[in-house]
């Protein structure tokens, strides 16, 4: 589904990703772990097409298509979703309105018919119930005045509604207390399906106790230095990132 090959990317003139390669297939959950500054969030942003993230070498294909050539909105329509580390507030813009505009823009781009207000309301109310959100959420402005936990849950809610094929979670666990973390994880687990692939970016193993990944990759200094299964995350938790660096000096992969 997603194929990243030798990806190099710069932010503000500084090279952050230095030859990252990764492949995910439908139905798989991949966790990307790594110390601060390793390039985890850069990866998420490059995949979603954030302006200012400059790809200098390498390729990324999504279902065989060149993802890097696509505008952010086209990537969304193709099925890529980024749950933001810091979800953005849009004052005065009603959540329901925002979600409908997003869903219909994606449907339109895919050549599907757009949903009218009634059809959309039915759909969104169903999702609210399914995800255990408070219906009041729909009347509020996008992320405005939300607590940190509410913002993160709202990201997962948007994901549930937009039904992406590739969901990238950028440190969705950061700043959450254990209850909020469980709620977010439950939401994500409910969305796991054979057609959908996840890229779970996290600093801590804690989240992976609840969202158990099929693969764990350790990102250090802009590339993946070790890959394994869920056990790798637990080993990391026990030994720290220094342990990986000792085992696999980055030069070896250069």
């Amino acid at each position: 589904m997603l194929k990243i090959d030798n990806l190099h990317a710069r932010v503000a003139g500084k090279e952050i990703l230095k030859g990252l390669s990764l492949e995910t297939r439908a139905g798989e959950v991949h966790a990307i772990m790594g110390p601060n500054g390793a390039g985890k969030s850069t990866l998420g942003n490059v995949l979603a097409g954030r302006p200012g993230y400059e790809v200098t070498a390498g390729t990324v294909t999504f279902d065989g298509k060149d993802l890097l050539e696509m505008e952010p909105e086209a990537r969304a329509a193709a099925g890529v979703f980024l749950a933001f580390q810091y979800p953005v507030e849009i004052p005065g813009v009603n959540n329901t309105y925002f979600l409908r505009a997003a869903l219909n823009a994606q449907r339109k781009a895919r050549g599907d018919t757009e949903l009218d207000s009634m059809q959309f309301l039915k759909l969104v109310r169903g999702k609210v119930k399914e995800m255990g959100m408070t219906p009041e959420l729909l009347n509020r402005a996008v992320n405005e005045g939300f607590s940190g936990g509410e913002k993160k849950r709202n990201e997962v809610f948007q994901m549930a509604l937009l039904e992406p094929r590739l969901a990238i979670l950028d440190e969705t666990d950061s700043g959450l207390d254990i209850d909020a973390l469980k709620q977010v994880a439950e939401g994500v687990n409910g969305l796991r399906s054979p057609e959908r692939s996840f890229l779970v970016i996290t600093h801590y193993q804690r989240l992976l106790d609840y969202i158990v990944p099929d693969f764990v990759h350790v990102l250090a200094d802009g590339k993946i230095v070790e890959s394994g299964d869920a056990q790798l995350a637990r080993d990391l938790e026990a030994h720290g990132y220094a342990w990986v660096r000792e085992r696999t000096p980055t030069e070896a992969h250069a």
């Binding site: 952010p72 004052p91 005065g92 997003a102 823009a105």
Partner: protein
């Protein structure tokens, strides 16, 4: 960017839908202005002697005045002798059935159907075309409620006493340069009178249209709400696309007696000029309301997207005790447009309150200024004002300015001012796009959210129109 050059051009060319010209036979006065012009104008309108004299007095005063230059706008000198002060369709209809079909078509195209079958539900419309009112709908129904809603010309002939009593009582003839000019040469506009205790049964609306070239439009509107009366009034404005700058210098006066409530909303979409700043309307307007009676209320709501230059400050004189004045404004400028707009709140009575909410949006190379005065007179015990000015910038070449003035002469007054300036953040834009929403749609969504507080004040149907207008005006703002 995703947008192709061709798409931008297409967007720009469709951005002003109201830019067409109606082919209709017009009777105009020759270019130029002197006492003879005013007498001719007054005679054409079959006005009584007192009105002619009133105009001449204003004209003589105007001759002693100079065009002000304090606004934060740049404009070429206006040649007042190169303007025709009167243009009107030749055929004079006696009733709606006799209105020239070309005119009806014009208003249909603008989305303001005048004929009985298609007219807007719950809204009475006065249609002003160049210098004259061509039709007023629903007059019969309003008359039953005791409401007078007609063109100013008709009011001068049929309700002369009321006009004479109130005209110039809020904005005197010599108030300012453009108000004096308007007092001398005003041609038409709307007159509204809501008698004591009457709640006007429908929205009243005037649709101003400039059609003829080389003419100025000088309309005069007067709204009087007697004790306990309630009225909501809305004006809309459009003009064809022309390379010349055309002058629109209107005066609007509102009078609210005790416990009366007047809500005045404007959706101003005069031709703004092209993307290089050529052409467009000079919109120099004096709007003022007086809360003359105790416990009265006047609310101004404006959505300003058009005009090459906008220069207006809808104001409230809070004379009655416990009277309330409100001003809600959205002013959007794009390309080379300039807007210097805001309000004046003059607190005279005790326990008077005013509220100002101004939202400025600047794009392209435009300049957008908020200018506001809050004045608390000595006797205005416990006066309260709250002002909030927010501006948003789109792109790097536009400007946004805030000029708040406060004069407080009573120590018990509380005057608060809050102001913010922000750019549409790249984060907000990317957030929307990452959810599938295209760049231009994302910008209009963010701007719409920014203006929500003001749009809420507009009558329902017009809030939708205002939102659409904002979207169209923003096309081509990104790139």
């Amino acid at each position: 960017m995703a947008t192709q050059p061709g798409e931008v051009e297409a967007a720009l060319s469709r951005r002003y839908d109201a830019g067409f010209v109606t082919d209709i036979e017009t009777h105009s006065l020759p270019l130029g202005l002197d006492e003879g012009t005013i007498r001719a104008l007054s005679a054409l309108k079959e006005e009584p002697e007192w009105m002619t004299e009133w105009r001449l007095k204003a004209y003589r005063h105007w001759l002693t005045m100079r065009q002000p230059d304090w606004a934060h706008v740049k404009l070429a000198p206006i040649d007042f002798q190169a303007i025709s002060y009167y243009a009107a369709p030749k055929k004079k209809p006696k009733s709606l059935d006799e209105v020239d079909p070309e005119l009806l078509k014009t208003y249909d195209k603008l989305g303001v159907p005048l004929h009985e079958r298609a007219k807007l539900a719950g809204v009475a419309v006065d249609a002003v075309f160049d210098s004259v009112s061509v039709a007023t709908t629903a007059q019969g129904q309003l008359a039953k409620a005791g409401v007078i809603f007609c063109s100013m010309s008709e009011a001068i002939r049929t309700h002369g006493d009321l006009v004479r009593q109130y005209l110039g009582s809020v904005v005197p003839q010599g108030d300012n340069f453009f108000a004096a000019l308007n007092s001398a040469v005003f041609s038409d506009g709307s007159f509204v009178f809501i008698p004591k205790g009457v709640r006007c049964p429908m929205e009243l609306s005037t649709y101003f249209r400039i059609n003829a070239g080389h003419t100025g439009q000088f309309e005069r509107t007067l709204i009087i709400a007697e004790e306990d009366a309630v009225v909501s009034y809305l004006e809309g404005c459009t003009a064809p696309m022309r390379d010349e700058n055309q002058l629109h210098a209107a005066v609007v006066e509102l009078v609210a007696l005790a416990r009366a409530n007047i809500k005045y909303s404007t959706v101003q979409n005069w031709y703004p000029g092209d993307e290089n700043g050529k052409g467009g309307i000079y919109n120099f307007v004096t709007k003022r309301g007086e809360c003359r009676g105790d416990d009265s209320r006047i609310t101004w709501t404006q959505v300003e997207t058009g005009s090459a230059i906008t220069w207006k400050y809808p104001s409230c004189v809070l004379r009655g005790d416990r009277s309330v004045g409100e001003f809600h404004s959205v002013a959007l400028t794009n390309h080379y447009q300039q807007a210097d707009t805001g309000t004046k709140m003059v607190h005279i009575g005790r326990d008077t309150k005013s509220k100002i909410v101004s939202k400025g949006i600047s794009a392209g190379r435009s300049q957008n200024s908020y200018r506001g005065l809050v004045k608390v007179e000595k006797g205005a015990v416990n006066a309260r004002n709250h002002t909030r000015c927010d501006s948003i910038l789109i792109g790097k070449r536009c400007g946004s300015h805030t000029f708040p003035y406060m004069e407080v002469k009573n120590p018990t007054a509380i005057v608060e001012h809050e102001a913010t300036t922000s750019k549409i953040s790249d984060d907000q834009l990317f957030y929307c796009r990452s959810r599938g929403i295209g760049e231009e749609d994302a910008v209009s969504m963010i701007v719409d959210g920014f203006c929500k507080q003001v749009f809420r004040e507009l009558p329902m149907e017009f809030a939708v129109e205002a939102k659409k207008l904002l979207e169209v005006s923003l096309e081509g703002a990104i790139g």
